[in-house]
Each structure stands twice: as C-alpha cells, then as structure tokens.
Symmetry: C2
Subunit: 218 residues, 2 copies
C-alpha cells in the first residue's frame, strides 16, 4: 500500500471494533514510550490487547504501512500516527448538558482534559444549579444552549440528563450544529444520519453480566 495516511485517502470502511482496538494500542504505546522502548512488534501489541498479531497488522494496514519488516514498529512514530488517526492530535470542544453525577464527574475529571477533551460549557435545567461554578466552569441555563451555539463552537455534546429529557437535549444539540453526541441517558436517541452518536448504558452492561451468570451452568 502506498502509505496514504491523510484522512482524505480513506477508502476502506473502518470497523468499530478496529477503532476500539486502536485506542487500546495507543495506550500501550504510551506506556512503552515512557519505558523507553524503541520498537514493538505486532505480536507484543496483540498480547497486551488480548488479540492476535494478524489482527493488529490488519487494523493498522487500513491506514497505511507503518512498520519495518523483520523489525516491527517504531514506538514514537506509531504513537503519533495513532493519535493522529484517532483525532487526538487536537483539542475538542465539549459541551455537557446535565450537571448531575455523571455530568459533574466528567467536568471535574482531569484525565478528560489531558486527552484533549476540553469542557467548554456546562448546562442544567435546575435553577438551583444554574449560576454556580464547577471546576471554573459556570453552569448555564439549558435554554441558552441554542443561542450560545451561534457564537461558540462545540464539537461534542454530552447528554447527562435523565431518560425523559434526553431526546429533547439531542434535538437542541443537532439544531446547534453539533455533529457528535455522547449519550449517557438509558434510552435510544434519534438523530439525523450525519450525526455520530454513542450511547453508554451501564444498565445494559450489568444485564449482560447477569445473563452470563444465569447461563454459566448451561
């Protein structure tokens, strides 16, 4: 392959599972870099990530040929490449709606900022919360989101409100031009096809464990 690393040359569809694994590899590479390792083989990355070396190579080959045959991959180089592929070479402006447990936890978590996710604004519907300050971010009234979005730019919207309010928040975000939504409400939200959404539903995860336990005996 001709090592077309620019996003402009993405021909193949990228499986979701590949993206998840790339994130994992990046984590391992950052550790390896700190330990001063110069190169790493697909086999080592596979062992760390609980997959196979062929899988690692296939994952990377979607984006280009980053390795040296007989040697492996240069750790610092591959780190930079993966960061670039994952869009982590820059800061994203994040708006969080819902200053409850999840919303506040995210706004206060330092690792979130360090990864390039900058919480630019925090909204809530409760008059008691509006106006208070969290981590030097003032909580604003949710009603202002639509108008604020005209002057401020938000890349990622986080829905951290109860199930009932989730769809309406999503609609506001879409109208505000936000193209990526992380949904922590335990409901499916409907959005136009050009908007990317991910729903994190902890209840579902626990029910999957419950299913596994109930069927262990088989």
């Amino acid at each position: 392959m001709k090592n077309f690393t620019s996003p402009l040359f993405h021909l193949k569809r990228v499986p979701d599972s590949t993206v998840r694994r790339l994130s994992l590899y990046l984590g391992f590479l950052e550790e390896l870099e700190q330990r001063g390792e110069a190169t790493v083989s697909s086999d080592v990355l596979a062992r760390l990530g609980g997959t196979t070396s062929a899988q690692v190579r296939k994952d990377l080959s979607i984006f280009g040929s980053f390795g040296k045959r007989g040697l492996g991959y240069f750790v610092p180089e591959l780190t930079v490449r993966l960061r670039d592929i994952l869009g982590l070479g820059r800061d994203w402006h994040v708006v969080i709606v819902g200053a409850g447990k999840i919303g506040l936890a995210l706004a206060q978590y330092p690792g979130f900022r360090e990864k390039g996710f900058q919480v630019s604004a925090l909204y809530d519907a409760s008059p008691a919360k509006v106006g208070t300050t969290v981590n030097s971010i003032q909580i604003r009234n949710i009603k202002r989101l639509a108008s604020d979005a005209c002057t401020e730019h938000f890349d990622i919207g986080v829905i951290a409100v109860p199930a009932e309010g989730a769809q309406s928040v999503a609609d506001t975000m879409v109208a505000a031009g936000i193209k990526a939504i992380m949904n922590f409400a335990p409901v499916q939200i409907a959005v136009p096809t050009d908007i990317v959404t991910r729903t994190v539903n902890m209840g579902l995860e626990f029910e999957a464990l419950s299913f596994a336990l109930a069927n262990l005996s088989k």
Copy 2:
C-alpha cells in the same frame, strides 16, 4: 422449534449483540406493559430498538418460540420470559471495590437495586473512608475482602479503583470465588477463562467519537 425455554437446553451460542438487544427489548416491553398494551409485533420492537423485525425474531428464536403467528407476542408473557433469560428474575449480590466517584455512585443509585443488583458490600483501601457509611452500607477495608468472601456470597464484583490497583483487585475477586466482574478501571484485566468480565472504558468511547469527527470529511 420445541420451545425449550429452560437454560438447560441452550444449544446455540448467543451473540453478545443479541444479549444487548434483548435488554433493550425488555425495556420497551416494560413501557408497553405500563401503557397497557396486550401484544406487540417484532416490527414494533424493531422500530423502537433501531433494528429489523427479522433481527428481533432471530434474537428471540434462540431461546424459543414465544409468539403467536398473525398476532405477535403477548407483552406480559414476553416480559417475563426476557427477564428470566437475562437472569433478572432474582437478586444478585454485588460487591463494589473502590469508594471513589464511580463506586459511590453505583452504591447510591436506586435503579441499580431495583433491577435486582443488591450492593452487599463496599470496600476501599483509604483509612479515611473505611468505617464510614454510605447508603446504610459500611465501607470495609479492602484487606478483608478475601476472608469476608468465605462467609458471605458475592455474585458480581465491581472494580472501581484506579488503573494501578485493578489487576490486584481482580485477582482477589477470583480467589474469593467471584465468577463475574465489571471493570471500570481503564486497563485490560487478566482472569481465568471461566470468569466473565466486562470492561467499561469511557475514554475509549470518547476516542471513538473523536475518530468519527476527525474522519467525517473523509
């Protein structure tokens, strides 16, 4: 199919994606039941869950024939069946290790208990936290987990400690006979093959959004 609904007759492997969808269907059924709907078709469930009617029928057919041709499924009956399949007809004893943000949030969340996940114990390493009470659960010293597990039975272990401590907590849980582990630490944990684990890694989810945004233009 001969409607073998007992877990003893599971012949087919159940895809992970199917389990996730069954949880979703169950949620919709509970809503439909409250609204007094008597029956529901695979088509309606599909629409609610963002999938196809064939997919719904295939998902259910793994476990038996619950529907009536020309009519659909009886809402109360299918609700019970799904709850049973997912192992939600009973209470699970959950032990949470790590009384930080996530651990405390779970211990205090009422919906968790309502779904049958009963937090039986909460452990932490910090002397400042040990002995204090949260939601009528006294926080115990992590060192006592191994011995406590001899007299108390825990079904599900939740790892809610920082990355560094996760593997050691997992080892303790496995030694204590816990068969299912929910891991909130942002690391891969290694466990014997007969132990079920799920890792919830919010960082990975956000990086997937970042990837999608970075490659929107293509």
